[in-house]
């Protein structure tokens, strides 16, 4: 056992050293996360601010039917937005008397009414016995802006009218509401942040782990064939199973390193982005390091599963390029269940704890929310261990085949099935 462990670790050490000396892998695993997330998030935050600013600066024109019949206060409440050049400006355009034309048609007909005198209308506002009618085209960005600005200002105006009426009658404003609903959120803001993280982090964990294992897996299997060192490896005076265990362990280690680096970089740079996006919401975002450490053992088992699967799959390819093409769909097999896992309403149950990938996403989500589910977590660990073991067997059976070292062609699907049906050469 000691000899086996020592040999496996020798192989792992050699593979790690060799892989990290590859510029592409080192860049993808270590450099990219450190540089990419802060830069990406800074760009996203800036983009968000630019878009928000652009939205606020957009001037919206709304046509008013029969404007002469309306009270000045009402018109001022809507039109009296910020001055030209400032944010959220709404300009009313008098459309005169339009008794026979429905406002919807009017909007269509007058969408270019201002031209060349002015910009097109984003909405048409009309007033009748049953209240106000606003016609907008929501498929147009300005239509949505018109709706939101008119609705907000009308509501403010109605509120002011109610307050004035209440004051005149000596009541509280709320007394004039048919039913007054007060909404109170007792949830701590930190919990809301935790929920957000518990939704996003498990998916990111799976995605980063798969991405982190990608290049090393290709490099240590198809890369060996491409570099002409597969035969050299088969000459090692230890069982091929040990060699493959060492390789899979190296890929899993690199996947974990990549995931850790990614999470660190993400944690450091996400705070700034979320603070920008969630400004005014009071939600606090703190990476739950303690809970993440609790997730680590499951993540390690998952990394072994991913490493063995990707290594075996890329071993069927004859070169790096072909392996990359092969791993594309396999990556999706891992990532799609992870995305499904963040959907609301899907929680960890003993049944779902047995479904690979989905189980690790749900378990991580539960752990990050501080839920204690010993049975489910144990089932997830067992399921991941079994998946990793099966994937390792698959990898061993495939990569220990002499075809791995001796053929320069891609292993075909019939050959693959034939390999899997027959006995492996792992003991050789």
């Amino acid at each position: 056992m000691t000899q086996r462990l020592a040999a496996t670790l020798q192989v792992t050490g050699k593979e790690l050293r060799e892989t990290l000396r590859d510029r592409q892998t080192a860049f993808t695993t270590l450099v990219l996360p450190i540089c990419m997330y802060p830069v990406l998030f800074w760009i996203m935050a800036q983009g968000f601010l630019v878009l928000q600013g652009q939205k606020e600066r957009t001037e919206v024109h709304v046509g008013v039917v029969n404007q002469g019949l309306l009270e000045d206060d009402l018109l001022r409440a809507i039109d009296q937005g910020p001055e030209p050049g400032t944010a959220n400006r709404l300009v009313l355009v008098d459309l005169g008397f339009q008794e026979d034309v429905p406002p919807g048609d009017l909007l269509e007909a007058t969408s270019g009414v201002g031209e060349p005198q002015g910009p097109p209308l984003a909405g048409v506002l009309s007033f009748g016995p049953n209240g106000a009618h606003l016609h907008v085209n929501r498929s147009e960005p300005k239509g949505e802006l018109a709706e939101s600005r008119v609705t907000k200002r009308l509501a403010q105006h109605v509120g002011q009218l109610r307050e004035q009426a209440a004051e005149a009658g000596g009541h509280a404003a709320s007394a004039l509401e048919p039913l007054y609903l007060e909404r109170v959120d007792v949830g701590p803001e930190s919990d809301k942040g935790a929920l957000l993280l518990a939704t996003l982090l498990p998916m990111l964990l799976v995605t980063m782990c798969v991405m982190g294992a990608f290049f090393p897996a290709v490099d240590l299997s198809a890369g060996e064939r491409e570099r002409g060192t597969a035969e050299t490896t088969l000459l090692l005076p230890v069982p091929r199973l040990w060699v493959l265990q060492g390789k899979v362990l190296a890929v899993a280690s690199l996947a974990m390193i990549a995931t850790t680096f990614n999470l660190l970089a993400l944690g450091i740079s996400a705070e700034g982005l979320l603070a920008t996006i969630l400004q005014g919401s009071n939600i606090t975002i703190n990476l739950p390091w303690q809970e993440l450490l609790a997730v680590a053992p499951l993540a390690l088992l998952f990394a072994l599963f991913v490493a063995a699967t990707l290594t075996a799959t890329s071993g069927m390819a004859r070169n790096f390029k072909e392996a990359q093409a092969m791993l594309g769909p396999v990556q999706m097999v891992f990532i799609l269940p992870a995305i499904a896992g963040i959907m609301p309403g899907i929680d960890l149950t003993p049944g779902l704890a047995l479904v690979p990938v989905l189980n690790v996403t749900l378990a991580a989500k539960s752990m990050l929310l501080g839920k204690v589910l010993p049975l489910e977590y144990a089932l997830v660990a067992g399921s991941l261990l079994l998946s990793a073991w099966l994937a390792l067997k698959f990898a061993v059976r495939l990569l220990s085949r002499e075809a791995f070292a001796t053929t320069s062609a891609t292993i075909s699907w019939p050959q693959l099935f034939s390999f899997l049906r027959s006995d492996g050469d792992a003991s050789r």
Binding site: K14, L235, V238, A405
Partner: protein, 276 residues
Amino acid sequence: MTLDTNTNAPAIHAEALTKIFSDPERGKVAAVQDLDLACNYGEVMGLLGPNGAGKTTTLRMLSTILAPTRGRGTVAGADITNDPIGVRKRIGFLSGTTGLYPRLTAEEVLQYFGRLHGMDEDTLGQRLEVVVKAFDLKDFLSGRCESLSTGQKQRVSIARAVIHDPRVLILDEPTTGLDLLAASDMIRFVESRREEGRCVLFSTHILSEAERLCDRIAIVHAGRVLAVGTQEELREDTGEKWLEDVFRAFVARADHSPEQAADQPQANITGGEPHK
């Protein structure tokens, strides 16, 4: 250094060794068929044959890279089917396709193989000193293999193959792709191994190499051994003077009467005593 090979058993022994590949287009293809071979310590034996004759497949089976479809073989006392790891521990194998790990330094490659051969750090250090001196590796020992010249790579590869001081060397066309000087170094290396009492089995299609190095030659053609013997025995058998003509004569004989060719060498030459 002279090796104590206090045994009468041949260093390499193969009996009815056969390898059949499944080819999607051609079906079952016998790359090697019923091959018998015996090679002793202190002997250099050459497998001589054209490309596709089955030389590489034979050497790969003997070095346990490939498993034989049927037949038996032992190398340095270890069975190639039942004890492949034992075989790999006892042999040094080198071919044009046993590349060096490009991102490791020459020293790291040697250490890696040494450690996996179970050598402790002291022994490994001593062996490193020996091979570094023997193959003059000092100047590029800390250089990554990818940055070495072809000749330097070849020297590191040889060092890698002998880091554990194996009693048997199996070399598959070891001079292919080498320049004149590097090829000459390789030939001198093989000769030195013989002087140390080790067994060297190597394949080649270069007749001059075979003439210079081989104590005995096995002529391989279409997956079968057509003849095995000393150069004198083979010349006598065919009545030809030059090794090239000897080779042609055996191939012509085999092509003319394949069954006869398949049967004859067994009694004629292969079963004979290995050269001492």
